[in-house]
């Protein structure tokens, strides 16, 4: 892997660690954060719904971050087109779909969440396409590996 690829993976890993830290902080900080934001605009009635929405987002966020980190570890070890990576991308797509459904359900309380839901579904589709590309690349690699 060239220098540019290694740098890119390093940056991605650092961002993963930042997300890990953010999720850890969010686990304890969500009630205070939500109270601060919604309290300041006089929308105290929305605090429980906002808190629930954000807490429900944590499991898929954590799952996606863990598997994204695993994918980066595999790529840096030059194991790129493998069955494990294809499975990981599938899991990432499922996480995005889960978030899409979650935020779609919360549009009754926060109408703008429809945009977040749409973005999540769009990422799900993108990851599904990328997964298909990886599947094709895996087959080509297998054939290439068994070419003498």
């Amino acid at each position: 892997m060239n220098g540019f690829g290694k740098k890119s993976i390093l940056i991605s890993k650092i961002l993963c660690y930042i997300i890990y830290a953010a999720i850890t902080l969010a686990t304890v900080g969500i009630p205070f954060f939500v109270k601060l934001i919604f309290g300041s605009i006089g929308a105290e009635a929305l605090i429980p719904k906002a808190t629930a929405m954000l807490y429900f987002s944590l499991p898929p966020a954590l799952t996606a971050t863990v598997f994204l980190h695993r994918l980066l570890v595999n790529i840096s070890a030059e194991n790129i087109f493998t069955e494990e990576n294809i499975r990981i991308i599938g899991i990432l797509a499922v996480c995005c779909a889960f978030v899409g459904v979650l935020y779609l359900a919360f549009t009754f309380a926060f109408r703008t969440m429809i945009l977040v839901s749409f973005a999540a579904f769009f990422f799900c589709v993108m990851l599904t396409v990328i997964r298909s590309v990886f599947c094709a690349a895996y087959l080509i690699k297998q054939e290439n590996d068994l070419t003498v």
Partner: protein, 68 residues
């Protein structure tokens, strides 16, 4: 299906896998893949090198058999 009769020719010429791999210019692992019929494709350059080292024709190494 294509059958690779490399082991037959190697036995006739009394050459080992490692020696043939070194002469042909491929790894022993790759030659083993070919010998055990696990290869999906073979380069012409490899085929040419094998035929040259074993002093044989392609038909001595590759055989077509109808799948049943």
């Amino acid at each position: 299906m294509i059958i690779v009769n490399l082991d037959v020719m190697m036995a006739k010429r009394k050459i080992s896998l490692g020696e043939l791999a070194a002469r042909v210019g491929i790894t022993q692992a790759n030659l083993s893949v070919l010998k055990t019929n696990k290869a999906k494709a073979i380069r012409f350059s490899t085929l040419e090198a094998i035929c040259h080292e074993l002093q044989c024709s392609i038909a001595d190494i590759l055989e077509y058999r109808e799948e049943q």
